[in-house]
């Protein structure tokens, strides 16, 4: 199945899920639809990870590995969230581990973006070291929030990583004008980061569920788009660093 077809299927699933929510369907139907979409997404993400890990051996492939680890982290966090809510019957607002993991998954993508940077050796080295160190701050804060049991800190958007990812993506976008695979990867990371922060802001400001559902329905689509771009990068044999 081509990448385009997969994206169309996931777009259709997103629309279907939102129609379910809009139509005011019974809670169970919405919950089951939500769970089914996420289970499919997780399977696709894991398949992408396997394909990225297979045959991408050797030096110079760090963006693939970082991206694949990021997808693994997202898949694990989604599985955890699904099971916590539907099997454990836990409160959706209390998924601390999934929150922490999503925060850290961003760091894998920051690492992937950093590996794509090109330029003079010294300048790139300074950017990589600085951005890498800065990207650790938000997850460290979340980790601390979990240890001292201070939930408000958990749901603050990791603004530092959002700004970092978006600016790195813009930089890569303009730095590699002829490299469509790298640009697509940078764009998909930015899309994911912005969606993530939008969702957290909706939770913080206690927005109506319809808006939360809209953003929630877009997650699988963005995840799969990210995975597909990672595969495209690997197929074209993009070299990093």
């Amino acid at each position: 199945m081509t990448h385009k077809k997969i994206l169309i299927i996931f777009s259709a699933l997103a629309v279907l899920y939102w129609i379910l929510c809009l139509s005011g369907a019974a809670g169970t139907a919405v919950a089951l639809g939500d769970m089914a979409i996420y289970v499919i997404t997780v399977c696709v993400l894991l398949l992408v990870c396997v394909r990225v890990f297979m045959g991408a051996a050797g030096a110079g492939n760090s963006p693939f590995y970082a991206g694949a680890f990021g997808l693994c982290a997202l898949a694990v966090s989604e599985v955890y969230a699904i099971l916590y809510i539907y099997v454990w019957q836990g409160n959706p607002a209390d998924i601390t581990v999934a929150q922490f993991n999503r925060n850290c998954a961003l760091m894998f993508f920051v690492a992937g973006l950093l590996a794509l940077l090109r330029g003079t050796k010294k300048r790139v080295a300074v950017i990589k070291l600085g951005a890498g160190a800065i990207s650790c701050v938000p997850p460290a804060l979340v980790f601390y929030a979990i240890l001292i049991d201070y939930p408000p800190l958990l749901y603050r958007p990791s603004l530092v990583n959002v700004v970092l990812c978006v600016s790195l993506s813009v930089y890569i976008f303009f730095q590699t004008p002829r490299n469509n695979a790298n640009r697509a990867f940078a764009c998909s990371v930015s899309a994911m980061v912005l969606l993530e922060s939008a969702y957290r802001l909706l939770i913080i400001y206690n927005a109506v569920y319809l808006w939360r559902d809209l953003v929630d329905s877009l997650y699988p689509l963005v995840y799969v788009y990210l995975g597909i771009n990672l595969l495209r990068m690997r197929e074209r044999g993009e070299q990093s660093e």
Partner: protein
């Protein structure tokens, strides 16, 4: 020091001191390193127990402690010495050794934890089957989550500039898999929590075999 904390500590001393003698006798640096990482794992069991108690006091329910605090603390304690491998110039031929040492640390931790779990459990609730099942799944889970951390380090050890975000990410990934295992263990889907470590072991085995000699 509580009785249990003393039991943990005495288990650590009784295990580690004899193993240190073995480590001194062994010529092969790689094998010695694996034994020392195993000893660290046993010590990490003591350290994690005290840290869990310290941070867990802020948490009212043991369930939330099991799902959120313990996995993070335990994964950090087990994986901490793996950071020594970051200096790849100093250890040029360590490809598989990183993974073996990581697994040894995780298994050492698990042995310490399981021993005292059974020591404090009532005889009525612990039979041979549960002992075998817990040892098989928990030991493998602890070993393989740390091994996953080692595999990540192995892949990125040559890319020093992006290693900082990767380390944090790897810790989180291991902690989440650990939390997922703990979450499933007490539900009707417990069989999945048994499959997770076995699947990770098989994947790790194939990964190690694909690396060739070195």
């Amino acid at each position: 020091m509580s009785d249990l904390s003393f039991q943990f500590l005495s288990g650590f001393i009784a295990t580690v001191i004899p193993l240190l003698f073995v480590a001194v006798m062994i010529d092969d640096a790689g094998s010695r390193r694996i034994i020392l990482y195993f000893c660290w794992g046993v010590f990490a069991g003591v350290l994690a127990y005290d840290l869990n108690n310290y941070f867990g006091s802020a948490w009212g329910q043991s369930q939330r402690m099991t799902l959120a605090v313990a996995p993070m603390i335990e994964e950090v304690c087990k994986g901490l010495p793996m950071l020594l491998f970051l200096n790849v110039k100093k250890y040029p031929r360590v490809t598989k050794l990183i993974v073996f040492c990581a697994m040894a640390s995780g298994v050492g931790f698990s042995i310490q934890e399981s021993t005292y779990y059974f020591a404090i459990s009532s005889r009525e609730f612990v039979d041979l089957a549960s002992l075998v099942v817990r040892t098989l799944t928990t030991a493998l889970m602890h070993g393989m989550t740390t091994a996953a951390f080692g595999i990540g380090l192995l892949l990125f050890s040559k890319h020093q500039h992006i290693i900082i975000p990767m380390i944090f990410g790897l810790f989180s990934l291991c902690a989440s898999i650990h939390a997922l295992f703990n979450l499933l263990l007490y539900t009707q889907l417990a069989f999945i929590s048994m499959i997770i470590p076995i699947a990770m072991f098989v994947a790790g085995w194939f990964f190690i075999r694909s690396q060739g000699s070195g």
